[in-house]
């Protein structure tokens, strides 16, 4: 396991946002975190990415306990988080965005030729089919932007990618594209924590599934131990869905 949590908990005032969460991700694996709104997914990501500190339990990176005080610290340990609202500037070109904040230098200058070339190569290595690295990021589709953000994290040495609902705002085709890049990142040996509320997106790429409900884990399943139907049922709250179906049936 690259990162692992044991009995992780977090409270905000009197609200127990997260209770007793144990999960982990190994190199070349995808751990999916599933849950409905308010399940504690965001709180979990924020702890993993160094934005919040946990109150109880432990958070281990490479088997050693850590308490990050900023996202920068997590990033320095190779844990990169790609948020839904991506840190990209729409009017700037793909390659300028790719290296923003970490521009390669050549003497005093920004090594523009290298930035262009590396951006193109990294995107190609991820199988990302960007028409032209000179185009403004604003002209990319949502899926392409996610893909560029993922490729950027991979290039800057991420060992674990934490992806916050990367497919939720996307159409079916676009979501498929992003899932392919998640698989590609996994094949390159990265650990991926994939947060989603869509079991149909999680099942095809996931190795492990952590289900959260109202801040508590409903269970951690390996792929072989659960069928997509069961996953969907658990996600939707199982019995509640039957009840709803019953209620909605025509008399």
């Amino acid at each position: 396991m690259i990162i692992e949590t044991r009995g992780l908990g977090k409270r905000f005032g009197s609200v127990l946002a997260l209770r007793d969460v144990s999960m982990g991700v190994a190199a070349g694996e995808v751990t999916c975190v599933l849950g409905d709104n308010g399940a504690g997914k965001s709180t979990l990501i924020k702890i993993l990415s160094g934005m919040h500190r946990h109150d109880t339990g432990s958070y281990l990176v490479d088997g050693r306990e850590v308490r990050f005080s900023s996202p920068r610290e997590a990033l320095d340990r190779g844990i990169a988080t790609v948020y839904q609202d991506l840190a990209m500037i729409p009017l700037m070109s793909v390659w300028r965005n790719f290296f923003l904040g970490s521009e390669p230098r050549k003497g005093l200058a920004f090594d523009v030729a290298r930035a262009r070339r590396v951006a193109r190569e990294e995107l190609a290595a991820m199988g990302i089919d960007i028409r032209d690295v000179d185009q403004p990021v604003g002209t990319l589709s949502g899926g392409e932007r996610q893909s560029v953000a993922i490729a950027r994290a991979v290039h800057f040495g991420a060992r674990v990618l934490v992806l916050d609902e990367p497919t939720s705002a996307l159409g079916v085709k676009q979501a498929g594209v992003v899932l392919r890049y998640i698989a590609r990142a996994r094949d390159r040996g990265l650990g991926v924590v994939f947060i989603t509320h869509n079991p149909h997106h999680a099942y095809p790429v996931g190795d492990r599934f952590l289900l959260l409900n109202r801040g508590s884990p409903l269970g951690l399943y390996a792929r072989d131990d659960i069928t997509p139907q069961e996953l969907t049922r658990l996600m939707a709250g199982g019995a509640e869905l039957d009840e709803l179906a019953h209620e909605l049936r025509r008399e």
Binding site: F110, R120, T139
Partner: protein
């Protein structure tokens, strides 16, 4: 990847690529305005004429380029015009009333100007107030100081007599002299303007801070999130504008050897207009230094061209307004293209 041709590249083509260059509108305007005046006035298209209209373009251009960088970084500076006056007043006052030699007086002017720029930057970045308001405050305060101090020192609203100060000859040659090219004398300010434009362009497109300038103007939060030093970048931009104001203020003071206490007032908008004609978006994150320099040339041409044609100079502001409107419309198209999301 390089050898592969993507079938989707074709419709984007060279035309569209050219269209998204920020300078395009300014270049079209430049050709149109030059043709308009050159056809009607032989003086306008002569070497002497060109030297004549390049001069106002140069002093305006130095400011427009600095203001363009600041606008790309997402901020305005309304105090830039008055600051040219402040710098000039400090230079002439210290050199004529307090026995400073010209070079030392210029150095003091530079320190004061940079301090004003630094203060603008710090207040804007700390308080998160719109720079429009913050620098409007600076503008009014400097206007008061310029008049108040000048009156207190001289009893009039101008200081003069710089020619008699120590070191005037040398400084005037560097900042206010002329250069002979093929029998026509061009103002040395034109060289300063070209230098400023070249350096600004290099910084903008070929340096790390250039990338940060686009980023803080485009989306400051996103820029911070990836580690761009947004506060430092913005403060540096305000100080760059202040530096340009000092340079222009010194050039003008050395050229005319006297400075009116109300000089520079109203110029701040001309700088912004030149930058916008040059392709800068008012909302930041987009624009070019070369564009702003071309915007300044258009101004210089119209300013002198109207005189060459024997028209009433009042028509200048009408022209100004029309150019601004056209440029803003052109810029809006560019932005719409750049930001449209394709699925």
């Amino acid at each position: 990847m390089t050898a592969r041709v993507d079938e989707r590249i074709a419709p984007v083509g060279p035309v569209r690529r050219l269209l998204i260059r920020p300078e395009l509108g300014a270049v079209v305007g430049l050709v149109a305005v030059f043709t308009f005046f050159a056809v009607q006035s032989p003086v306008f298209r002569s070497a002497d004429g060109i030297a004549n209209w390049l001069d106002p373009a140069a002093t305006l251009g130095i400011m427009a380029v600095a203001v363009a960088l600041l606008m790309i970084g997402g901020e305005f500076d309304l105090s830039a015009g008055v600051l040219t006056g402040t710098s000039g007043l400090i230079l002439v006052t210290l050199a004529t009333r307090f026995g400073f030699d010209v070079w030392t007086a210029m150095l003091v002017g530079l320190v004061v100007a940079l301090a004003v720029g630094f203060a603008n930057g710090v207040v804007v970045t700390r308080t998160k107030l719109p720079s429009f308001i913050v620098t409007l405050g600076t503008f009014l305060m400097l206007q008061g100081v310029n008049l108040g101090v000048t009156k207190a020192v001289t009893g009039t609203v101008q200081v003069s007599g710089l020619r008699r100060a120590d070191g005037y000859e040398g400084a005037a040659a560097v900042f206010a002299g002329t250069i002979d090219v093929g029998g026509t004398s061009f103002r040395v300010a034109i060289l300063w303007w070209i230098l400023v434009t070249a350096v600004a362009t290099w910084v903008l497109v070929r340096s790390r801070p250039g990338n940060w300038i686009f980023a803080v103007g485009g989306d400051e939060q996103a820029a911070r999130a990836v580690g761009v030093p947004a506060t430092r970048t913005k403060i540096a931009l305000f100080m760059t504008t202040a530096f340009a104001a000092w340079l222009v203020g010194s050039i003008l003071a050395l050229r005319y050897t006297s400075v009116q206490a109300n000089i520079g007032i109203g110029q701040e908008f001309i700088y912004i207009i030149a930058a916008v004609i040059g392709g800068c978006l008012l909302t930041g994150g987009y624009g070019s230094a070369v564009g702003a320099a071309i915007g300044a040339v258009i101004f210089g041409m119209a300013d002198k061209g109207i005189v060459f044609l024997g028209w009433d100079a009042d028509w200048f502001t009408f022209f100004l307004g029309a150019m601004l409107l056209l440029a803003t419309l052109a810029n809006r198209l560019v932005r719409r293209y750049a930001e449209e999301v394709r699925h």
